[in-house]
Amino acid sequence: MTRRSRGLKIRILSVVTISMLFITAFSTVAKATTYYSTFTKGTEFFQVTTYNEVDWQTTVSTDYNPSDWFGGEASITGAQSKFTTMGWTSATWETYDFLLSFFLTNSSAANALIILDQNGYNETEINNKYNNTCPLTSGMRSEWYFVSGGFNESHNSAIDMPLILDNPANYKKILDDYNNLAHEIQLDDFGIIFNPIVKPFFQNMTADDFLWQIAFNDLAMGTPISTYIQELVDTLGCENASYSGNTLIIERTGESNYTVEMTYGAQGTLISFVVKDPAGTIIYQFISIGNTNWIVYIIVGLIIGFFSVLIAFLLYKKRRFNKKYR
């Protein structure tokens, strides 16, 4: 093999390796199963585009407003929020992990957990009895609540953890395990003092309520998103939920009936949240107004530009030198 062709091969190999590094890493695919997560580190911005307070109170609730759902100034049109995806990990969760993450999200459940722990419902025992393990991808995001002015330097929430279960059918198993456990706890006697502390936290939950609860907490979708949503809704057997493309549609009843449409973006996380009255009029809406993923093209462009200019300059100098002295 000549030195020249070897050099050419090395150059081609280098270019291919660097290109692969660029293409794969900026949008790392976390896992190659049927569904996979496509989290990308960066920041996504949201803006409240519509809020009709009167319609909200006559349709959704007079007791609470969007700020109670999303925090900050979510009830002000034009307010913005943002999420920064800081990283993600692959893990396998057991029943107890889901119990804490999906069902006992209220901080006042801590006392109930202590009592349960002393009465034969500790983590090991629950996991042994309901031995349902779910591989998943757990994202880590910091959240800045909706504000009408500029964002603070520090984020508002500790860490938001969107979860993508590798298999959406596992949501059904999680709900079934919870309902079985809740049934068991309701039948058990913890004593006259402890019963009122424990039992209210373990009420039977319908598939629709479960979907509504996780949609507000940690739900994120695997890719391909449309089939993931479809499988999630169908397996859970929700009566008041449907889907359309990447949108999850949930029918709710407040002061009157209303519809919530949640659309999930390329990363599997929420990019649009719309509340509509029965006539289809939008009462409340916030949407993603952009993310920072495109900046990577500027960075790559600048690096390529820098080296192109440098190479062009060197070639120009060499040519000028050759012209002058040869």
Binding site: A25, T28, T43, K82, T84, T292, I295
Partner: protein
């Protein structure tokens, strides 16, 4: 009017050799500039892209300030020091190493020559640091969606003051050292090991004393200035075996800038004296 024209012409003739030396130095050192700029981009790329984008479980820092702090610490500790040593080490001693400093009737005033060379190298090193700041700022924008703010520019301004101090310090060594290599080695040793050893001795024996004498300590201001509010207290107390160590985080803005300017002025003054004596 005629006097004015004469004054202008006189000024032009005074400045012309400096400008020529400046341009010549830019032309001579541009490869170093490209090398250091590429190295800066590579470092930012490794710290920001390879560390965070390639490894999903490697979490981004909580805030953009923490992220920038990490990047700027590397800049002040390594890139500025190395760049200053490599750009300024030969500024005076190379004249004697190549015997041009011994020319009795030079065509160009030697002080003007040195000034032109100094300004040329200073421009290049500020360029390198600018490249680093731009790369870091772009990645910060990419991850956090935050554009450059005034504090980031203030940090850049302090980095320039730090460059002035370090470059003057290296110029001082260049004024009495015989070769470029010796200057590079000795200044790197002093800036990396000398100041750090002194800082550690002070921490142990004089825990309450703030190491304001240290250029490295003053350089902490480059990253600390980004923090809102500014660190207060400016130290952390650590108790180990009934002994309290005081780890100083940063000087005040005024103290830091003053110390760096004192380093610059005194180093350049001493360097000019030595240079003048060396010509005799």
């Amino acid at each position: 009017m005629e006097k004015m024209e004469h004054a202008m012409e006189g000024f032009y003739l005074e400045v012309k050799p400096i400008a020529h030396a400046y341009v010549f130095e830019l032309k001579q050192q541009w490869k170093k500039f490209v090398g250091f700029s590429a190295f800066s981009v590579l470092i930012v790329f490794l710290m920001s892209y390879v560390m965070y984008a390639v490894v999903p479980s490697s979490l981004l820092p909580d805030t953009q300030t923490e992220y920038l702090n990490n990047g700027l610490t590397f800049l002040s500790m390594f890139i500025i020091v190395f760049a200053a040593c490599f750009f300024f080490s030969g500024i005076i001693c190379s004249e004697y190493d190549k015997k041009t400093g011994y020319i009795i009737f030079p065509k160009i005033n030697k002080f003007k020559l040195i000034l032109g060379k100094y300004l040329g190298n200073l421009t290049l090193i500020i360029g390198v640091v600018s490249v680093y700041y731009i790369a870091l700022g772009l990645f910060c924008w990419y991850y956090y969606g935050v554009s450059v703010n005034l504090l980031f520019l203030a940090s850049f301004a302090i980095a320039i003051v730090y460059i002035l101090a370090v470059s003057s310090f290296v110029t001082l060594f260049s004024s009495f050292m015989k070769t470029v290599n010796m200057t590079i080695i000795s200044t790197i040793l002093i800036l990396f090991i000398g100041f750090q050893t002194a800082d550690q001795l002070v921490t142990v024996f004089l825990p309450d004393f703030e190491p304001v004498y240290s250029m490295q300590f003053a350089s902490n201001l480059i990253s600390s200035i980004l923090e809102q509010p500014f660190p207060n207290p400016r130290y952390n107390d650590m108790e180990i075996m009934d002994f309290t160590f005081r780890m100083w985080i940063t000087p005040t803005i005024e103290t830091g800038i003053t110390v760096l300017l004192i380093y610059m002025a005194s180093s350049l003054l001493i360097a000019s004296f030595i240079f003048k004596r060396r010509q005799l």
